[in-house]
Each structure stands twice: as C-alpha cells, then as structure tokens.
C-alpha cells in the first residue's frame, strides 16, 4: 500500500498536470453550455493556420494570373477562376487569356475556352484547324490571335474557325502574359478556396473533445479524463478519515 506522504506527493503532481486540461475543459464547457445565448454557431473564425488544421487549404504558393482589364483570370490546382469565381478547369498549362470584343478567350496548350464576361462557359473546344501546342495568345484590334509553332492564327468573330494571319504583323499583337497576382486578388482567391470560415462552436467543441488534433488529441483528452478519475479517487482516499 502506498503511504500517505508519497500518495500526497503524486496527487499534487498529477493535479498540476491535469489542471491545464481541467481549465480547458471547464472554460470550453461553460461556453458550449451557453452556445444559444452566445450565438457561437454564427461566429466565424478565419485564421489561416486553424483552417489548415481542418484541411481547408487556401492559396499555398505564389499565384500567377492574367489581367483582363480589372478582373483576373487565374489557374490554381487545375481550376480556373475569374476574380474569385470558379469557372471551370483546365487540364493543361494556361498559355493566355484575353478580353475580346464579345467574350473572354482563354487558351491552354491544346484547348480554347470561351466565357461570357460574367464567367459563364460558352464553349470549351480543341481547334481542329490548328496543330498544338499553342504557345501564345494575344489581341489585335479586339480580335484574338493564337500562336503555334506553325505561325499566327486569327479567329473569326464567332470563334468558329481560325485562319492564318500574316506573321509580319506579330509586332502589333499585344500578347497575354502571366503576372504575379496582386495581394488583394490573392486574398480574394484565398477566401474563395477556404470557404466561409469555421464556426466558433465547432472549434470549441473540438478543443473540448480533443478532436481538433485528430485522433492524437482525442486520446490525450481521454488520458486527461482517466487522470481526473485517478485524482478524484486519490483525493477521496487522502481526505477519508483513517482509523
């Protein structure tokens, strides 16, 4: 049988360790208990590292995009965005994007994407009159010009056919170039990728149960609960009058 002083010493040590968890449990427990009054489900938290903990990754690296006179067209992880609006996907690397008279024209190495100015897809197609890869997309007098290894090609007004374009006018073509996305646009995109934020109620609940650190956190909280049980028993044992 453990003697009185030894038991008291271990009881104190355990108490210090468990007190940290007890504080967390007590504070989060009180807040959760009053969730309706505190409206915790409506409070959204948008902390980068916290959202990453939940797998809600945003923009993880520097992003390039194409400036379309005010709005930006961006390809991120295979998805296309106009501003912060998801407008489709591109299988291959983007070559350029231009704002033509009637529509937005985007090109990857093999395909052409036509969008309305609002970002609605009109058509995504492989121009069968051209030989990929496409290496450049530009504009001349409001009309898109595509560059391949075989030369320059210009589309008709409805973007149905591409016809050969004299190579000697290529100096007059304004070529679309990828540029580093400005901070404000990057934040917009990050916001879109991560969604609306995490409800505070869910965070508190996950801190309370330990689930915020996945299975590891859950087992840590289980261990703290077991220690609390041990502490209660040793406390009672110490307090109980001995003969």
């Amino acid at each position: 049988m453990v003697r009185g002083p030894t038991l008291r010493r271990w009881h104190r040590r355990l108490g210090i360790v468990v007190s940290i968890f007890l504080l967390v449990l007590a504070v989060t427990g009180i807040l959760l208990n009053h969730e309706p009054a505190l409206n915790l489900n409506k409070v959204e938290v948008r902390s980068g590292w916290l959202m990453s903990l939940y797998g809600m990754e945003g923009v993880t690296s520097e992003v390039d995009g194409f400036d379309l006179e005010g709005s930006w067209l961006v390809s991120h992880n295979g998805s296309l965005y106009l501003g912060s609006k998801a407008i489709g996907s591109a299988a291959d690397k983007l070559v350029g994007a231009v704002r033509a008279t009637e529509m937005i024209v985007v090109s990857d190495e093999r395909q052409i994407f036509l969008y309305t100015f609002a970002g609605d897809l009109i058509e995504r197609y492989t121009p069968t009159d051209l030989t990929p890869p496409f290496v450049g997309l530009g504009m001349i007098a409001g009309a898109p010009v595509l560059r391949t290894d075989e030369g320059l090609f210009m589309a008709d007004a409805d973007m149905v056919d591409w016809g050969r374009f004299p190579a000697d006018v290529k100096t007059y073509v304004t070529w679309s170039k990828a540029q580093r996305l400005p901070e404000a646009q990057r934040n917009l995109l990050d916001h879109e990728l991560r969604g609306g934020g995490l409800p505070l109620y869910r965070i508190l609940l996950d801190v309370h149960s330990g689930r915020i650190f996945s299975d590891f956190g859950r087992y840590v909280m289980d261990a703290a609960a077991v220690l609390l049980i041990v502490l209660s028993i040793t406390g009672l044992w110490i307090w109980w009058p001995k003969r």
Partner: protein, 172 residues
C-alpha cells in the same frame, strides 16, 4: 555503371504506368481520317432545353457550356467530347453514321490508370451500337478490370454522342 543506369531508366520507363497527358491521336488528324481529308466546317448544337436535359441525364451532371461543336457530312456526325474518368478528362473522338457508332477513338488520355481503354479490343466493340429507348447502348459493353471508371466515362461519351447525333439530325 553508366550503361547499368541507362538500362535501369529504360526498364523503369517501360514498367511504370503512364502519368502525363498522352496524345494518342491529334483531334485534327482524327477528323481528317474520318472525313478522308475533306473536313467540313463545324456546326453547333446549342445546349439548352431538351439537349441540356439529355446531356444531364446521360452524364449525371450539368454539362457546362452553351454550345457543343460537331462536324457533319454524308450522314455522319463527329463529336470530340470529354469526360473525367477518375480525376482528369479523357478526350475522345466519336463518329456516328446513320444513327450508329462508326468509330470510337481515345485522343488524349490524362489519367494515371485505365489507359487500356485506348486499345481497339475495347473501342471496336462500340461499332454499330445504337441508343435504345432508355438512352442506353443497344448492346452490352465488356469492361476492363482495373479501368472501371475510364470504361464508364467512355460509355457515357458514346451514349452522349449518339443522343446528340439524334438531336442534331432532328434539327435541335
């Protein structure tokens, strides 16, 4: 040592699965083959009303876009369409003549698995297939073990092309 390394690289290249986009046939070459060099100008099927509903029923999702281009001549329509197998789109050329599949050709394959669908032993079985009343293929399609999602995607594209062919010939 250098020879050994080279042999190792060649061996690895031979046994590792295909990961990058593989162009089996350029779309323009496919069209030229089907129309024997005399490719007509493209026509458009507008994706609205019945056409949009039909596409949604077959693909199980809304088909993006406002129009789908196709090529039509001599009782034949040709469609270059895409569907995702597992994660990336498979670009497929499908020729329909007099309401029946004439040729299915995998043009660009981007998935890491399931590329066996490119081989004639799979694509040839669609020849002569039509659409039944439920917009299913008129005969059963034999799958490929380990390429279930790619097979499913190609079957959807064949059904879509047959349905679009009907709608295009009806003048939608």
């Amino acid at each position: 040592m250098r020879v050994f390394s080279l042999n190792l690289i060649i061996l690895l290249a031979a046994i590792l699965p295909v990961h990058a986009a593989d162009v089996f046939l350029e779309p323009n070459v496919f069209l030229a083959e089907v129309f024997e060099g005399d490719v007509p100008s493209p026509s458009f099927l507008w994706l609205k009303g019945d056409v949009k509903e039909t596409a949604k029923e077959i693909l199980g999702r809304n088909m993006g876009g406002l129009r789908q281009r196709y090529w039509q001549a001599d009782g034949r329509t040709v469609w270059i369409v895409e569907e995702i197998g597992k994660t990336r789109p498979i670009t497929t050329g499908i020729s329909v003549k007099d309401g029946a599949v004439e040729r299915v050709q995998i043009l660009i394959y981007r998935e890491s698995h399931g590329w066996e669908v490119r081989y004639p032993f799979f694509t040839d079985q669609f020849q002569g297939m039509t659409l039944d009343a439920e917009r299913e293929t008129s005969s059963r399609v034999d799958g490929i073990s380990g390429a279930t999602l790619s097979v499913r995607a190609i079957v959807k594209l064949v059904r879509l092309s047959l349905a679009f062919d009907q709608l295009a010939r009806d003048g939608s």
